[in-house]
């Protein structure tokens, strides 16, 4: 079974379309979106519709998704993020609001746990990028793999012993073998706003038979999204970030 895992689309329709076009060639069976369909980007409704209509797809709630529903306050976010959330609130259709409202914050499937940020407090939105929060995440579930997004940086954290982990940032396209018994936290990166200095959209495919995780970086028309951001008077910094991948 090949499982496509992606996250943090943030209303970037061009990036999402390019990723889905690429994944269609790779004979994927199921899809899991780890949240943050909206926020920052200019096409929230279009992105939600694409994901909703994706075959065999399940989606989780991200911090930007719940902020657009006022389930958490956007005033705790950065200025640009807050402005984009307030704009998105006005754009979302009632059907899509209901869809975002129905999204769960955690999903357990066989030996896998899926969350947007972390499994120990899914709605606390804490980043898992260091040893302390990685160990806390491992302790929160018995699953072999924990798939996360939220930080916008593709990353694999492997548990070595009781208190030691190895942290491996993933750059570019990479096939990662997981045929040992180690437990891992795998961050699938971001489609709509990568922050690892690589502006290409990022997603991964987990092949359960081959026991491999393949990270894919997909080029897309960044200019088109930046122009839409400018056209809609969203904060210009959002356009600069997706250009640079920061």
């Amino acid at each position: 079974m090949r499982l496509m895992i992606f996250s943090d689309i943030h209303g970037n329709l061009a990036a999402l379309q390019s990723v889905l076009k690429d994944a269609a060639k790779r004979n994927v069976h199921r899809n899991i979106c780890l949240g943050d369909l909206v926020g920052y980007g200019p096409y929230p409704n279009e992105c939600i519709n694409l994901v909703r209509n994706l075959k065999n797809c399940r989606c989780l709630a991200g911090n930007h998704d719940v902020a657009t529903l006022w389930e958490t306050s956007p005033y705790g976010m950065s200025k640009a993020a807050k402005e984009a959330i307030l704009w998105t609130m006005d754009q979302l259709s009632s059907g899509n609001k209901a869809y975002l409202h129905s999204l769960p914050d955690r999903l357990d499937l066989e030996e896998m746990t899926f969350v947007h940020a972390n499994p120990y407090n899914p709605k606390g939105w804490r980043y898992v990028m260091d040893r302390k929060y990685a160990l806390r995440s491992f302790a929160a579930t018995s699953s072999r793999f924990i798939f996360i997004g939220h930080s916008h940086r593709p990353l694999v954290i492997s548990k070595k012993h009781w208190l030691t982990v190895s942290i491996e940032p993933i750059t570019g396209n990479k096939e990662y073998e997981i045929n040992d018994s180690r437990r891992r936290i795998i961050n699938c990166g971001s489609i709509g706003q990568p922050r690892d200095n690589d502006p290409r959209a990022c997603y991964l495919i987990y092949d359960t038979r081959k026991q491999t995780i393949t990270f894919h970086r997909i080029e897309y028309n960044v200019q088109k999204t930046v122009e839409a951001i400018q056209h809609l008077n969203l904060p210009p910094v959002l356009g600069r970030r997706i250009f640079k991948g920061t």
Binding site: M1, H29, R30, N56, R58, L107, E110, T208
Partner: protein
Amino acid sequence: MTFKHHGKTSTTNLKQRFFLWSSLILIGGGLLLSLLSFWNTRRLLMAEAMDKSEVILQEVEAIRSYVKKELRPKMVELHGKDAFIIEAMSTTYISTTIMKTFSQSMPSYVYRRASLNPLNPQNSADSFEEDMLDWFEEDPSRTFWQGVVKKNGEAFFISMVPDYFADPCMRCHGKVEDAPQSLIDRYGNTNGFRFQAGDLAGINSVAIPVSSSFRAAWQGSLVLFLITVPASLLLLWLLNLLFQRLVIERLGAMLSLMKEKKKEADTEQPGDELDALRASLGSLQQYVHTARKGSSLQPNFINGYAAGTPITAGAISWLYNGYTTTVEDREKVSIKIGFDEALQNPLYRACFETELNLFETLFHPCLPKFRDRIGDVVILNAIEGESLSCLFGKGPLQDPLVQSIFSQLCDLTAHMHATGVVHHDLRPQILHFDKNKKLTLLDMGLASNDQQPDPITAAGLGPQGDFMYMAPEQIQGRRGDPRSDIYTIGVLLYLANTGKLPFSSKQRSMQKWALQKAKWVIQKEDKEALSPEMIGIISKALSNAPEKRYQWVEDLREDLEKIHSRISS
């Protein structure tokens, strides 16, 4: 017999029966335990007494043997053949004198030398000893006796051994004229003579009192019984409370629902709640039968739709062919109608609502499209074709047909699993296949959704559905594992390829079904009829342990597609 709603107390026949039987079992168990304890203590006391008495008897025998073999010959050697010093040459005198001294320090141990015709009148046998002398005389092979005897209201454990005269004894116990003068002077010349070698001389016995020990054992058992009874009563009270919460209150709630619907049946029925429930279910079955009969006779109009002949029947709803009445061109539809009687049960209602929710929210070519809902009636797109049970009844299917059916079935199952739904009840009767080779699933009444609480698990119900197609873990009551559906697809795949079911369909218990499934291996004739790849797929899908099966239905589908692409090429 009165029932009250859930959460309130109810006094019922079933509860009384449970209480009565539990009391009898617990008190009987306590009594049995006490008796066993007494019996075991008594057995240990007897064994101890036996050991002690045997030691004393062996000691007496050793003394007597020493006198016979060592002391007496030495005295003859020193004092001449005619001398007889009783204190140093009589075995009986010496042994009884030593044991008298012994009994001064151990008064509870009584040693006796008894004879029917003793020299010393003190050694005369009492009535019990006379009986025992007769018993030993009857059969010389009898060399030992032990038992409990009551004397003067006290129980004694007695061990006895017989003693026979030997040649050296004849000097004192043979003819009177041969007896030493000192012996006659001491005991006279009337008793203790005229014996022959080999005659029974007497019996040596040791008696140990056991009354007080038996009394202590009995008191211990009584104390145990007195502790067990209150403990049993406490346990009984807890069990009763548990039974009340888990069974009686729920049963009462269900029965009160049924009683509300059957107000005319106010008269008290004999029997307990289960009898009442059985009677209600019987009446429900009769109602369903009548409803089916009625529905086939004439159309029923529901708003803008008319229901016609039934397509399939379930426990909580039926599916009918139907058509629209509001438009000029009649459009075919199918109509799912929930049974009012069945839906009064909150569990069935929850299952029905889950099913309707799935029809409304799942979108797949193999699911009839949801059109409308009118109360407990759901309007779906028309369903064509015949059920797979009709198709499978015609023998093994051709490969292209197998490919078409299972490709769609796997795709549908993968779609359900991907959205967190496990069907739990896939079977040929609810899968229709039409002329355009389109497969349609008609029923999802037992499905579970991982985003919603499962009503069947919440109600603590056992396995639901058809055991023939059910995975072994489902028979054990587990739900929510997608691999259970993979097992069912394995059964259907076997049926499609061989034209027969993998298991015997005779009615049997859950345990026997589980055992049959655990022992299943592919038969020799099937190995010849099927390709090795297909055997591999079926065997893997029908693995008893879920972890040995295909973990994902997509993997099963890929393996099937490999076979079919090889055949078609």
